[in-house]
Symmetry: C2
Subunit: 323 residues, 2 copies
Protein backbone atom coordinates (compact mmCIF):
# COMPACT_ATOMS: atom_id res chain seq x y z
CA UNK A 1 0.00 0.00 0.00
CA UNK A 2 1.50 3.25 -1.14
CA UNK A 3 -0.08 6.51 -0.01
CA UNK A 4 1.54 8.65 -2.68
CA UNK A 5 0.28 6.29 -5.40
CA UNK A 6 -3.20 6.46 -3.88
CA UNK A 7 -3.04 10.23 -3.80
CA UNK A 8 -1.97 10.31 -7.44
CA UNK A 9 -4.78 7.96 -8.44
CA UNK A 10 -7.31 10.20 -6.73
CA UNK A 11 -5.99 13.46 -8.19
CA UNK A 12 -5.92 11.95 -11.68
CA UNK A 13 -9.48 10.71 -11.34
CA UNK A 14 -10.67 14.12 -10.11
CA UNK A 15 -8.96 15.82 -13.07
CA UNK A 16 -10.67 13.35 -15.39
CA UNK A 17 -14.04 14.13 -13.81
CA UNK A 18 -13.46 17.86 -14.25
CA UNK A 19 -12.51 17.36 -17.91
CA UNK A 20 -15.51 15.14 -18.61
CA UNK A 21 -17.83 17.88 -17.35
CA UNK A 22 -17.60 19.78 -20.61
CA UNK A 23 -17.76 23.52 -21.04
CA UNK A 24 -21.20 24.39 -19.72
CA UNK A 25 -21.01 27.23 -17.17
CA UNK A 26 -22.88 24.99 -14.71
CA UNK A 27 -19.66 23.02 -14.23
CA UNK A 28 -17.23 25.90 -13.64
CA UNK A 29 -17.83 25.89 -9.86
CA UNK A 30 -17.48 22.09 -9.84
CA UNK A 31 -14.06 22.31 -11.48
CA UNK A 32 -13.11 25.18 -9.18
CA UNK A 33 -13.92 23.48 -5.88
CA UNK A 34 -12.28 20.22 -6.97
CA UNK A 35 -9.12 22.16 -7.85
CA UNK A 36 -8.81 23.64 -4.35
CA UNK A 37 -7.15 20.48 -3.06
CA UNK A 38 -7.52 19.31 0.51
CA UNK A 39 -6.42 16.21 2.39
CA UNK A 40 -8.53 13.87 0.17
CA UNK A 41 -9.08 11.93 3.37
CA UNK A 42 -12.33 10.28 2.32
CA UNK A 43 -11.30 8.81 -1.05
CA UNK A 44 -7.99 7.68 0.47
CA UNK A 45 -9.96 5.70 3.04
CA UNK A 46 -11.98 4.01 0.29
CA UNK A 47 -8.81 2.94 -1.49
CA UNK A 48 -7.29 1.71 1.79
CA UNK A 49 -10.46 -0.26 2.55
CA UNK A 50 -10.20 -1.91 -0.86
CA UNK A 51 -6.50 -2.77 -0.63
CA UNK A 52 -6.86 -4.14 2.90
CA UNK A 53 -9.06 -6.87 1.47
CA UNK A 54 -6.69 -7.81 -1.28
CA UNK A 55 -8.01 -5.93 -4.32
CA UNK A 56 -6.11 -3.28 -6.26
CA UNK A 57 -6.95 0.34 -5.37
CA UNK A 58 -8.03 0.95 -8.98
CA UNK A 59 -11.10 -1.19 -8.45
CA UNK A 60 -12.46 1.31 -5.91
CA UNK A 61 -11.37 4.52 -7.62
CA UNK A 62 -14.84 5.46 -8.96
CA UNK A 63 -16.46 5.02 -5.54
CA UNK A 64 -13.55 6.87 -3.90
CA UNK A 65 -14.00 9.80 -6.27
CA UNK A 66 -17.78 9.68 -5.71
CA UNK A 67 -17.27 10.22 -1.99
CA UNK A 68 -14.85 13.11 -2.57
CA UNK A 69 -17.23 14.77 -5.07
CA UNK A 70 -20.12 14.24 -2.65
CA UNK A 71 -18.09 15.73 0.21
CA UNK A 72 -17.27 18.81 -1.88
CA UNK A 73 -20.93 19.16 -2.86
CA UNK A 74 -21.83 19.33 0.85
CA UNK A 75 -19.10 21.94 1.39
CA UNK A 76 -20.51 24.05 -1.47
CA UNK A 77 -24.00 24.03 0.03
CA UNK A 78 -22.84 24.31 3.65
CA UNK A 79 -20.82 27.41 2.77
CA UNK A 80 -24.00 29.11 1.51
CA UNK A 81 -25.88 28.16 4.67
CA UNK A 82 -23.02 29.23 6.95
CA UNK A 83 -22.32 32.39 4.90
CA UNK A 84 -18.66 31.29 4.80
CA UNK A 85 -16.64 33.62 2.55
CA UNK A 86 -13.64 31.31 2.32
CA UNK A 87 -12.99 27.67 1.53
CA UNK A 88 -9.46 26.35 1.79
CA UNK A 89 -8.19 29.94 1.86
CA UNK A 90 -9.93 30.86 -1.42
CA UNK A 91 -13.33 32.49 -2.06
CA UNK A 92 -16.17 30.03 -1.55
CA UNK A 93 -18.35 29.30 -4.58
CA UNK A 94 -21.31 31.47 -3.54
CA UNK A 95 -18.83 34.29 -2.92
CA UNK A 96 -17.00 33.93 -6.25
CA UNK A 97 -20.22 33.43 -8.24
CA UNK A 98 -23.46 33.80 -6.27
CA UNK A 99 -25.76 31.73 -4.04
CA UNK A 100 -27.96 30.58 -6.94
CA UNK A 101 -24.96 29.28 -8.83
CA UNK A 102 -23.70 27.50 -5.71
CA UNK A 103 -27.09 25.86 -5.17
CA UNK A 104 -27.38 24.66 -8.77
CA UNK A 105 -23.77 23.61 -9.36
CA UNK A 106 -23.89 21.82 -6.01
CA UNK A 107 -26.96 19.91 -7.19
CA UNK A 108 -25.13 18.94 -10.38
CA UNK A 109 -22.16 17.82 -8.32
CA UNK A 110 -24.36 15.52 -6.32
CA UNK A 111 -25.64 13.94 -9.54
CA UNK A 112 -22.04 13.44 -10.66
CA UNK A 113 -21.26 11.62 -7.43
CA UNK A 114 -24.18 9.23 -8.04
CA UNK A 115 -22.94 8.69 -11.61
CA UNK A 116 -19.57 7.67 -10.19
CA UNK A 117 -21.11 5.25 -7.71
CA UNK A 118 -23.08 3.75 -10.63
CA UNK A 119 -19.75 2.89 -12.31
CA UNK A 120 -18.80 0.52 -9.50
CA UNK A 121 -18.56 -3.15 -10.52
CA UNK A 122 -22.10 -4.41 -11.19
CA UNK A 123 -22.03 -7.22 -8.61
CA UNK A 124 -21.54 -4.82 -5.67
CA UNK A 125 -22.95 -1.56 -7.09
CA UNK A 126 -26.42 -1.86 -5.50
CA UNK A 127 -24.89 -2.47 -2.05
CA UNK A 128 -22.48 0.45 -2.38
CA UNK A 129 -25.27 2.67 -3.74
CA UNK A 130 -27.49 1.75 -0.80
CA UNK A 131 -24.75 2.64 1.68
CA UNK A 132 -23.99 5.85 -0.22
CA UNK A 133 -27.66 6.95 -0.18
CA UNK A 134 -28.19 6.17 3.48
CA UNK A 135 -25.02 8.07 4.33
CA UNK A 136 -25.96 11.05 2.18
CA UNK A 137 -29.30 11.36 4.01
CA UNK A 138 -27.57 11.09 7.38
CA UNK A 139 -25.14 13.85 6.41
CA UNK A 140 -28.14 16.08 5.57
CA UNK A 141 -29.70 15.19 8.95
CA UNK A 142 -26.42 16.14 10.65
CA UNK A 143 -26.27 19.51 8.92
CA UNK A 144 -29.92 20.08 9.85
CA UNK A 145 -29.16 19.40 13.52
CA UNK A 146 -26.11 21.68 13.34
CA UNK A 147 -28.28 24.53 11.99
CA UNK A 148 -30.97 23.87 14.60
CA UNK A 149 -28.38 24.09 17.41
CA UNK A 150 -27.60 27.68 16.39
CA UNK A 151 -30.93 28.96 17.63
CA UNK A 152 -31.32 26.60 20.58
CA UNK A 153 -30.39 27.69 24.05
CA UNK A 154 -29.39 24.31 25.40
CA UNK A 155 -27.75 21.40 23.58
CA UNK A 156 -26.67 18.26 25.43
CA UNK A 157 -23.34 16.46 24.91
CA UNK A 158 -25.32 13.48 23.70
CA UNK A 159 -27.06 15.59 21.05
CA UNK A 160 -23.76 17.11 20.03
CA UNK A 161 -22.17 13.69 19.53
CA UNK A 162 -25.19 12.60 17.53
CA UNK A 163 -24.78 15.64 15.30
CA UNK A 164 -21.08 15.09 14.56
CA UNK A 165 -21.70 11.38 14.08
CA UNK A 166 -24.22 12.21 11.36
CA UNK A 167 -22.45 15.19 9.87
CA UNK A 168 -18.93 13.79 9.77
CA UNK A 169 -18.29 10.29 10.96
CA UNK A 170 -20.84 8.22 9.01
CA UNK A 171 -19.18 9.45 5.82
CA UNK A 172 -15.72 8.43 7.02
CA UNK A 173 -17.18 5.05 7.96
CA UNK A 174 -18.99 4.60 4.63
CA UNK A 175 -15.84 5.47 2.68
CA UNK A 176 -13.80 2.76 4.36
CA UNK A 177 -16.59 0.23 4.32
CA UNK A 178 -17.37 0.73 0.61
CA UNK A 179 -13.76 0.04 -0.27
CA UNK A 180 -13.92 -3.25 1.60
CA UNK A 181 -17.26 -4.20 -0.02
CA UNK A 182 -15.82 -3.50 -3.47
CA UNK A 183 -12.86 -5.75 -2.68
CA UNK A 184 -15.27 -8.54 -1.77
CA UNK A 185 -15.00 -8.44 2.02
CA UNK A 186 -17.75 -10.19 4.00
CA UNK A 187 -20.57 -8.05 5.35
CA UNK A 188 -19.28 -8.75 8.88
CA UNK A 189 -15.90 -7.31 7.98
CA UNK A 190 -17.48 -4.33 6.21
CA UNK A 191 -19.49 -3.65 9.37
CA UNK A 192 -16.39 -3.90 11.55
CA UNK A 193 -14.56 -1.45 9.35
CA UNK A 194 -17.61 0.82 9.43
CA UNK A 195 -17.52 0.79 13.21
CA UNK A 196 -13.81 1.66 13.18
CA UNK A 197 -14.51 4.58 10.84
CA UNK A 198 -17.53 5.80 12.75
CA UNK A 199 -15.64 6.01 16.05
CA UNK A 200 -12.52 7.42 14.44
CA UNK A 201 -14.67 10.04 12.69
CA UNK A 202 -16.08 11.24 16.00
CA UNK A 203 -12.60 11.42 17.54
CA UNK A 204 -11.43 13.25 14.40
CA UNK A 205 -14.18 15.88 14.70
CA UNK A 206 -13.51 16.37 18.42
CA UNK A 207 -9.84 16.93 17.51
CA UNK A 208 -10.99 19.50 14.95
CA UNK A 209 -12.96 21.31 17.63
CA UNK A 210 -9.93 21.27 19.92
CA UNK A 211 -7.65 22.66 17.23
CA UNK A 212 -10.14 25.36 16.31
CA UNK A 213 -9.91 26.77 19.82
CA UNK A 214 -6.47 25.76 21.04
CA UNK A 215 -4.56 25.18 17.79
CA UNK A 216 -1.78 27.34 16.43
CA UNK A 217 -3.39 29.83 14.02
CA UNK A 218 -0.39 29.72 11.68
CA UNK A 219 -0.77 25.95 11.39
CA UNK A 220 -4.53 25.54 11.08
CA UNK A 221 -4.61 28.16 8.31
CA UNK A 222 -7.42 30.18 9.84
CA UNK A 223 -8.02 32.44 12.79
CA UNK A 224 -7.91 30.50 16.04
CA UNK A 225 -11.18 30.69 17.96
CA UNK A 226 -13.49 30.66 14.92
CA UNK A 227 -16.01 28.44 16.69
CA UNK A 228 -16.02 30.74 19.73
CA UNK A 229 -16.63 33.80 17.58
CA UNK A 230 -19.48 32.03 15.76
CA UNK A 231 -21.02 31.00 19.13
CA UNK A 232 -20.84 27.38 17.94
CA UNK A 233 -22.24 24.92 20.41
CA UNK A 234 -19.25 22.61 20.39
CA UNK A 235 -18.41 20.16 23.15
CA UNK A 236 -16.25 22.82 24.85
CA UNK A 237 -19.02 25.40 24.99
CA UNK A 238 -21.70 22.90 25.95
CA UNK A 239 -19.69 21.60 28.89
CA UNK A 240 -18.58 25.08 29.98
CA UNK A 241 -22.22 26.16 30.11
CA UNK A 242 -22.95 23.13 32.29
CA UNK A 243 -19.91 23.26 34.56
CA UNK A 244 -18.88 26.88 35.02
CA UNK A 245 -20.14 29.03 37.90
CA UNK A 246 -23.06 31.37 37.28
CA UNK A 247 -20.81 34.36 36.83
CA UNK A 248 -18.78 32.70 34.05
CA UNK A 249 -21.91 31.30 32.40
CA UNK A 250 -23.43 34.78 32.29
CA UNK A 251 -20.18 36.16 30.90
CA UNK A 252 -20.34 33.67 28.03
CA UNK A 253 -24.02 34.26 27.36
CA UNK A 254 -23.61 38.02 27.35
CA UNK A 255 -21.16 37.69 24.48
CA UNK A 256 -23.47 35.55 22.27
CA UNK A 257 -24.29 37.44 19.08
CA UNK A 258 -22.43 40.47 20.44
CA UNK A 259 -20.58 41.93 17.47
CA UNK A 260 -19.39 45.08 19.23
CA UNK A 261 -16.96 43.22 21.45
CA UNK A 262 -13.36 42.86 20.24
CA UNK A 263 -12.80 39.42 18.70
CA UNK A 264 -9.54 38.67 20.51
CA UNK A 265 -11.06 39.72 23.83
CA UNK A 266 -14.04 37.42 23.34
CA UNK A 267 -11.84 34.48 22.36
CA UNK A 268 -9.47 35.04 25.28
CA UNK A 269 -12.20 35.37 27.91
CA UNK A 270 -14.04 32.27 26.76
CA UNK A 271 -10.85 30.25 26.32
CA UNK A 272 -9.93 31.14 29.91
CA UNK A 273 -13.30 29.87 31.13
CA UNK A 274 -12.76 26.63 29.19
CA UNK A 275 -9.37 26.15 30.87
CA UNK A 276 -10.59 27.11 34.36
CA UNK A 277 -13.23 24.42 34.07
CA UNK A 278 -10.92 21.90 32.46
CA UNK A 279 -13.36 21.22 29.64
CA UNK A 280 -10.33 20.94 27.32
CA UNK A 281 -9.22 17.93 29.35
CA UNK A 282 -12.70 16.46 29.15
CA UNK A 283 -12.57 16.88 25.39
CA UNK A 284 -9.26 15.04 25.17
CA UNK A 285 -10.65 12.26 27.37
CA UNK A 286 -13.71 11.90 25.12
CA UNK A 287 -11.50 11.89 22.05
CA UNK A 288 -9.51 9.04 23.61
CA UNK A 289 -12.69 7.16 24.38
CA UNK A 290 -13.82 7.17 20.74
CA UNK A 291 -10.29 6.58 19.50
CA UNK A 292 -10.01 3.51 21.70
CA UNK A 293 -13.39 2.25 20.53
CA UNK A 294 -12.11 2.59 16.97
CA UNK A 295 -9.00 0.56 17.82
CA UNK A 296 -11.16 -2.05 19.53
CA UNK A 297 -13.27 -2.45 16.38
CA UNK A 298 -10.08 -2.60 14.35
CA UNK A 299 -8.59 -5.37 16.46
CA UNK A 300 -11.61 -7.56 15.81
CA UNK A 301 -11.14 -7.43 12.02
CA UNK A 302 -9.92 -10.53 10.22
CA UNK A 303 -7.13 -8.79 8.35
CA UNK A 304 -3.46 -9.45 9.04
CA UNK A 305 -1.26 -7.44 11.42
CA UNK A 306 0.30 -5.49 8.58
CA UNK A 307 -3.13 -4.30 7.49
CA UNK A 308 -4.12 -3.43 11.03
CA UNK A 309 -0.96 -1.42 11.45
CA UNK A 310 -1.70 0.57 8.31
CA UNK A 311 -5.08 1.59 9.76
CA UNK A 312 -3.56 2.23 13.20
CA UNK A 313 -0.88 4.48 11.77
CA UNK A 314 -3.44 6.31 9.69
CA UNK A 315 -5.63 6.86 12.75
CA UNK A 316 -2.66 7.96 14.83
CA UNK A 317 -1.59 10.50 12.23
CA UNK A 318 -5.11 11.91 12.13
CA UNK A 319 -5.19 12.34 15.88
CA UNK A 320 -1.70 13.75 16.24
CA UNK A 321 -2.08 16.35 13.50
CA UNK A 322 -1.76 19.98 14.52
CA UNK A 323 -3.89 21.35 11.69
Amino acid sequence: MNFSTQHELIELELIKIANDCGNHSLYEPVKYILSLGGKRLRPTLTLIGCELYGAPAERAIKAAAAFEVFHNFTLMHDDIMDKAPLRRGRPSVHQKWNANQAILSGDAMFVISVQLIAQTEASVMPIVLGLFNRTALEVCEGQDLDMAFETREHVSVEEYIKMIRLKTSVLVAACLSSGAIIAGASSEEAKGLYSFGENLGIAFQLRDDYLDTFGDATKIGKQSGGDILADKKTFLLIRALEKADENSQNKIKSMFGNTSINADTKVNIIKAIFLENAVDQELVALEDLYYNRAIEALNKLEINEKGKNILKNFAKQLMERDH
Copy 2:
Protein backbone atom coordinates in the same frame (compact mmCIF):
# COMPACT_ATOMS: atom_id res chain seq x y z
CA MET B 1 -55.17 1.15 -18.35
CA ASN B 2 -57.03 3.12 -15.74
CA PHE B 3 -55.93 6.69 -15.03
CA SER B 4 -57.71 6.93 -11.70
CA THR B 5 -56.05 3.72 -10.50
CA GLN B 6 -52.70 5.10 -11.61
CA HIS B 7 -53.35 8.32 -9.75
CA GLU B 8 -54.29 6.40 -6.63
CA LEU B 9 -51.15 4.25 -6.87
CA ILE B 10 -49.00 7.38 -7.11
CA GLU B 11 -50.68 9.22 -4.25
CA LEU B 12 -50.44 6.17 -2.00
CA GLU B 13 -46.75 5.75 -2.81
CA LEU B 14 -46.06 9.43 -2.09
CA ILE B 15 -47.87 9.16 1.25
CA LYS B 16 -45.77 6.09 2.06
CA ILE B 17 -42.58 8.00 1.22
CA ALA B 18 -43.63 10.89 3.45
CA ASN B 19 -44.37 8.48 6.32
CA ASP B 20 -41.08 6.63 5.90
CA CYS B 21 -39.20 9.92 6.29
CA GLY B 22 -39.55 9.84 10.04
CA ASN B 23 -39.87 12.82 12.32
CA HIS B 24 -36.63 14.68 11.75
CA SER B 25 -37.27 18.37 10.99
CA LEU B 26 -35.24 17.96 7.79
CA TYR B 27 -38.17 16.10 6.27
CA GLU B 28 -40.98 18.52 7.13
CA PRO B 29 -40.55 20.52 3.89
CA VAL B 30 -40.37 17.25 1.94
CA LYS B 31 -43.73 16.16 3.35
CA TYR B 32 -45.14 19.65 2.79
CA ILE B 33 -44.25 19.97 -0.89
CA LEU B 34 -45.38 16.42 -1.66
CA SER B 35 -48.74 17.22 -0.04
CA LEU B 36 -49.38 20.21 -2.31
CA GLY B 37 -50.66 17.97 -5.09
CA GLY B 38 -50.26 18.82 -8.75
CA LYS B 39 -50.99 16.99 -11.97
CA ARG B 40 -48.52 14.16 -11.16
CA LEU B 41 -47.84 14.18 -14.89
CA ARG B 42 -44.36 12.67 -14.69
CA PRO B 43 -45.07 9.59 -12.57
CA THR B 44 -48.24 8.96 -14.56
CA LEU B 45 -46.12 8.82 -17.72
CA THR B 46 -43.81 6.26 -16.13
CA LEU B 47 -46.75 4.02 -15.25
CA ILE B 48 -48.22 4.44 -18.75
CA GLY B 49 -44.83 3.56 -20.30
CA CYS B 50 -44.75 0.39 -18.21
CA GLU B 51 -48.31 -0.71 -18.96
CA LEU B 52 -47.91 -0.06 -22.69
CA TYR B 53 -45.31 -2.81 -22.76
CA GLY B 54 -47.46 -5.30 -20.94
CA ALA B 55 -46.26 -5.08 -17.33
CA PRO B 56 -48.44 -4.06 -14.37
CA ALA B 57 -48.10 -0.41 -13.31
CA GLU B 58 -46.99 -1.56 -9.84
CA ARG B 59 -43.68 -2.71 -11.26
CA ALA B 60 -42.75 0.89 -12.15
CA ILE B 61 -44.19 2.61 -9.09
CA LYS B 62 -40.83 3.17 -7.33
CA ALA B 63 -39.30 4.76 -10.44
CA ALA B 64 -42.48 6.78 -11.03
CA ALA B 65 -42.33 8.13 -7.48
CA ALA B 66 -38.60 8.81 -7.90
CA PHE B 67 -39.31 11.10 -10.84
CA GLU B 68 -42.05 12.95 -8.96
CA VAL B 69 -39.83 13.41 -5.89
CA PHE B 70 -36.98 14.56 -8.14
CA HIS B 71 -39.30 17.02 -9.91
CA ASN B 72 -40.44 18.46 -6.59
CA PHE B 73 -36.83 18.75 -5.44
CA THR B 74 -36.09 20.90 -8.52
CA LEU B 75 -39.15 23.04 -7.74
CA MET B 76 -37.94 23.55 -4.17
CA HIS B 77 -34.52 24.76 -5.33
CA ASP B 78 -35.85 26.69 -8.37
CA ASP B 79 -38.22 28.62 -6.11
CA ILE B 80 -35.26 29.84 -4.04
CA MET B 81 -33.38 30.90 -7.18
CA ASP B 82 -36.45 32.58 -8.69
CA LYS B 83 -37.46 34.12 -5.33
CA ALA B 84 -40.93 32.67 -5.95
CA PRO B 85 -43.17 33.26 -2.91
CA LEU B 86 -45.84 30.78 -4.00
CA ARG B 87 -45.97 27.19 -5.18
CA ARG B 88 -49.33 25.73 -6.20
CA GLY B 89 -51.03 28.66 -4.48
CA ARG B 90 -49.31 28.01 -1.13
CA PRO B 91 -46.14 29.51 0.38
CA SER B 92 -43.01 28.05 -1.21
CA VAL B 93 -40.65 26.17 1.10
CA HIS B 94 -38.04 28.94 1.41
CA GLN B 95 -40.89 31.33 2.23
CA LYS B 96 -42.55 29.09 4.84
CA TRP B 97 -39.22 28.07 6.40
CA ASN B 98 -36.11 29.82 5.02
CA ALA B 99 -33.65 29.48 2.15
CA ASN B 100 -31.21 27.32 4.11
CA GLN B 101 -33.95 24.87 4.98
CA ALA B 102 -35.09 24.75 1.34
CA ILE B 103 -31.52 24.07 0.18
CA LEU B 104 -30.95 21.28 2.67
CA SER B 105 -34.37 19.62 2.52
CA GLY B 106 -34.12 19.79 -1.28
CA ASP B 107 -30.80 17.97 -1.11
CA ALA B 108 -32.37 15.29 1.08
CA MET B 109 -35.23 15.00 -1.38
CA PHE B 110 -32.81 14.33 -4.19
CA VAL B 111 -31.22 11.53 -2.16
CA ILE B 112 -34.69 10.06 -1.57
CA SER B 113 -35.33 10.05 -5.32
CA VAL B 114 -32.11 8.08 -5.89
CA GLN B 115 -33.14 5.66 -3.13
CA LEU B 116 -36.40 5.06 -4.98
CA ILE B 117 -34.63 4.45 -8.29
CA ALA B 118 -32.39 1.97 -6.47
CA GLN B 119 -35.50 -0.05 -5.57
CA THR B 120 -36.24 -0.78 -9.23
CA GLU B 121 -35.94 -4.46 -10.21
CA ALA B 122 -32.24 -5.39 -10.15
CA SER B 123 -32.04 -6.49 -13.80
CA VAL B 124 -32.95 -3.03 -15.13
CA MET B 125 -31.94 -0.81 -12.21
CA PRO B 126 -28.51 0.21 -13.62
CA ILE B 127 -30.08 1.25 -16.94
CA VAL B 128 -32.84 3.25 -15.28
CA LEU B 129 -30.32 4.81 -12.88
CA GLY B 130 -28.10 5.81 -15.80
CA LEU B 131 -31.02 7.48 -17.57
CA PHE B 132 -32.13 9.15 -14.35
CA ASN B 133 -28.65 10.56 -13.69
CA ARG B 134 -28.15 11.84 -17.22
CA THR B 135 -31.57 13.47 -17.10
CA ALA B 136 -30.95 15.05 -13.70
CA LEU B 137 -27.75 16.67 -15.01
CA GLU B 138 -29.55 17.93 -18.10
CA VAL B 139 -32.29 19.48 -15.96
CA CYS B 140 -29.57 21.33 -14.00
CA GLU B 141 -28.04 22.50 -17.30
CA GLY B 142 -31.47 23.74 -18.41
CA GLN B 143 -32.00 25.72 -15.21
CA ASP B 144 -28.49 27.14 -15.59
CA LEU B 145 -29.29 28.34 -19.13
CA ASP B 146 -32.59 29.79 -17.92
CA MET B 147 -30.77 31.81 -15.24
CA ALA B 148 -28.11 32.93 -17.72
CA PHE B 149 -30.80 34.21 -20.12
CA GLU B 150 -32.01 36.65 -17.45
CA THR B 151 -28.92 38.80 -17.75
CA ARG B 152 -28.33 38.33 -21.48
CA GLU B 153 -29.52 40.91 -23.95
CA HIS B 154 -30.12 38.55 -26.86
CA VAL B 155 -31.30 34.95 -26.83
CA SER B 156 -32.03 33.07 -30.05
CA VAL B 157 -35.07 30.86 -30.63
CA GLU B 158 -32.67 27.94 -31.01
CA GLU B 159 -31.14 28.63 -27.60
CA TYR B 160 -34.58 28.97 -26.08
CA ILE B 161 -35.68 25.61 -27.46
CA LYS B 162 -32.47 24.05 -26.17
CA MET B 163 -33.20 25.46 -22.72
CA ILE B 164 -36.77 24.12 -22.49
CA ARG B 165 -35.65 20.80 -23.95
CA LEU B 166 -33.16 20.47 -21.08
CA LYS B 167 -35.26 22.02 -18.35
CA THR B 168 -38.56 20.32 -19.10
CA SER B 169 -38.77 17.85 -21.93
CA VAL B 170 -35.91 15.42 -21.20
CA LEU B 171 -37.58 14.65 -17.88
CA VAL B 172 -40.94 13.93 -19.55
CA ALA B 173 -39.06 11.71 -22.03
CA ALA B 174 -37.09 9.88 -19.33
CA CYS B 175 -40.26 9.22 -17.31
CA LEU B 176 -41.99 7.50 -20.23
CA SER B 177 -38.89 5.68 -21.36
CA SER B 178 -38.06 4.34 -17.88
CA GLY B 179 -41.51 2.84 -17.60
CA ALA B 180 -40.97 0.99 -20.88
CA ILE B 181 -37.49 -0.20 -19.84
CA ILE B 182 -38.88 -1.53 -16.55
CA ALA B 183 -41.54 -3.45 -18.47
CA GLY B 184 -38.83 -5.06 -20.59
CA ALA B 185 -39.24 -3.08 -23.83
CA SER B 186 -36.34 -3.22 -26.30
CA SER B 187 -33.88 -0.33 -26.29
CA GLU B 188 -35.19 0.69 -29.74
CA GLU B 189 -38.70 1.02 -28.35
CA ALA B 190 -37.47 2.86 -25.26
CA LYS B 191 -35.68 5.32 -27.56
CA GLY B 192 -38.79 5.80 -29.68
CA LEU B 193 -40.87 6.53 -26.61
CA TYR B 194 -38.14 8.89 -25.42
CA SER B 195 -38.35 10.79 -28.69
CA PHE B 196 -42.15 11.02 -28.38
CA GLY B 197 -41.75 12.40 -24.84
CA GLU B 198 -39.00 14.83 -25.78
CA ASN B 199 -41.01 16.43 -28.57
CA LEU B 200 -44.23 16.40 -26.58
CA GLY B 201 -42.37 18.04 -23.68
CA ILE B 202 -41.28 20.93 -25.87
CA ALA B 203 -44.79 21.40 -27.22
CA PHE B 204 -46.09 21.22 -23.64
CA GLN B 205 -43.71 23.96 -22.47
CA LEU B 206 -44.57 26.19 -25.44
CA ARG B 207 -48.24 25.72 -24.50
CA ASP B 208 -47.35 26.76 -20.95
CA ASP B 209 -45.73 29.92 -22.30
CA TYR B 210 -48.80 30.66 -24.40
CA LEU B 211 -51.17 30.19 -21.45
CA ASP B 212 -49.01 32.35 -19.20
CA THR B 213 -49.56 35.29 -21.53
CA PHE B 214 -52.89 34.60 -23.21
CA GLY B 215 -54.55 32.21 -20.76
CA ASP B 216 -57.54 33.00 -18.59
CA ALA B 217 -56.19 34.14 -15.21
CA THR B 218 -59.04 32.47 -13.35
CA LYS B 219 -58.19 29.15 -14.98
CA ILE B 220 -54.40 29.15 -14.82
CA GLY B 221 -54.56 30.00 -11.11
CA LYS B 222 -52.09 32.85 -11.28
CA GLN B 223 -51.89 36.36 -12.65
CA SER B 224 -51.89 36.33 -16.44
CA GLY B 225 -48.74 37.89 -17.90
CA GLY B 226 -46.35 36.62 -15.20
CA ASP B 227 -43.62 35.94 -17.77
CA ILE B 228 -44.02 39.45 -19.23
CA LEU B 229 -43.75 41.05 -15.79
CA ALA B 230 -40.62 38.99 -15.02
CA ASP B 231 -39.07 40.01 -18.39
CA LYS B 232 -38.73 36.30 -19.18
CA LYS B 233 -37.12 35.62 -22.52
CA THR B 234 -39.78 33.25 -23.77
CA PHE B 235 -40.39 32.47 -27.44
CA LEU B 236 -42.93 35.30 -27.62
CA LEU B 237 -40.54 37.94 -26.33
CA ILE B 238 -37.57 36.64 -28.32
CA ARG B 239 -39.51 36.75 -31.59
CA ALA B 240 -41.09 40.12 -30.82
CA LEU B 241 -37.64 41.59 -30.25
CA GLU B 242 -36.60 40.21 -33.64
CA LYS B 243 -39.71 41.09 -35.65
CA ALA B 244 -41.22 44.25 -34.24
CA ASP B 245 -40.35 47.72 -35.59
CA GLU B 246 -37.77 49.80 -33.77
CA ASN B 247 -40.38 51.82 -31.96
CA SER B 248 -42.06 48.74 -30.48
CA GLN B 249 -38.72 47.13 -29.65
CA ASN B 250 -37.68 50.23 -27.73
CA LYS B 251 -41.02 50.29 -25.96
CA ILE B 252 -40.43 46.72 -24.75
CA LYS B 253 -36.84 47.38 -23.73
CA SER B 254 -37.74 50.54 -21.84
CA MET B 255 -40.01 48.46 -19.62
CA PHE B 256 -37.37 45.83 -18.70
CA GLY B 257 -36.70 45.95 -14.99
CA ASN B 258 -38.98 48.97 -14.70
CA THR B 259 -40.91 48.47 -11.48
CA SER B 260 -42.54 51.91 -11.44
CA ILE B 261 -44.82 51.11 -14.37
CA ASN B 262 -48.27 49.70 -13.61
CA ALA B 263 -48.31 45.91 -14.04
CA ASP B 264 -51.50 45.76 -16.11
CA THR B 265 -50.26 48.53 -18.38
CA LYS B 266 -46.99 46.71 -19.02
CA VAL B 267 -48.75 43.41 -19.74
CA ASN B 268 -51.27 45.06 -22.06
CA ILE B 269 -48.70 47.04 -24.06
CA ILE B 270 -46.42 44.03 -24.58
CA LYS B 271 -49.32 41.69 -25.35
CA ALA B 272 -50.48 44.13 -28.01
CA ILE B 273 -47.01 44.10 -29.60
CA PHE B 274 -47.05 40.28 -29.57
CA LEU B 275 -50.40 40.28 -31.38
CA GLU B 276 -49.45 43.03 -33.86
CA ASN B 277 -46.46 40.94 -34.88
CA ALA B 278 -48.36 37.67 -34.84
CA VAL B 279 -45.77 35.98 -32.67
CA ASP B 280 -48.62 34.18 -30.93
CA GLN B 281 -49.41 32.49 -34.24
CA GLU B 282 -45.77 31.59 -34.68
CA LEU B 283 -45.83 30.03 -31.23
CA VAL B 284 -48.85 27.92 -32.09
CA ALA B 285 -47.17 26.84 -35.34
CA LEU B 286 -44.02 25.80 -33.48
CA GLU B 287 -46.10 23.95 -30.92
CA ASP B 288 -47.75 22.04 -33.78
CA LEU B 289 -44.38 21.23 -35.28
CA TYR B 290 -43.15 19.54 -32.09
CA TYR B 291 -46.51 17.95 -31.45
CA ASN B 292 -46.45 16.41 -34.92
CA ARG B 293 -42.89 15.18 -34.41
CA ALA B 294 -44.09 13.51 -31.22
CA ILE B 295 -46.93 11.80 -33.09
CA GLU B 296 -44.50 10.72 -35.82
CA ALA B 297 -42.25 9.05 -33.22
CA LEU B 298 -45.32 7.49 -31.67
CA ASN B 299 -46.51 5.99 -34.96
CA LYS B 300 -43.20 4.19 -35.37
CA LEU B 301 -43.56 2.34 -32.06
CA GLU B 302 -44.29 -1.39 -32.10
CA ILE B 303 -47.23 -1.23 -29.73
CA ASN B 304 -50.80 -1.91 -30.79
CA GLU B 305 -53.31 0.73 -31.90
CA LYS B 306 -55.01 0.75 -28.53
CA GLY B 307 -51.73 1.65 -26.87
CA LYS B 308 -51.00 4.32 -29.44
CA ASN B 309 -54.42 5.83 -28.88
CA ILE B 310 -53.83 6.03 -25.15
CA LEU B 311 -50.68 8.07 -25.77
CA LYS B 312 -52.36 10.17 -28.45
CA ASN B 313 -55.27 11.02 -26.18
CA PHE B 314 -52.91 11.85 -23.36
CA ALA B 315 -50.92 14.15 -25.65
CA LYS B 316 -54.08 15.76 -27.00
CA GLN B 317 -55.38 16.48 -23.51
CA LEU B 318 -52.08 18.08 -22.59
CA MET B 319 -52.19 20.37 -25.59
CA GLU B 320 -55.85 21.29 -25.30
CA ARG B 321 -55.72 22.18 -21.61
CA ASP B 322 -56.53 25.74 -20.69
CA HIS B 323 -54.48 25.76 -17.48
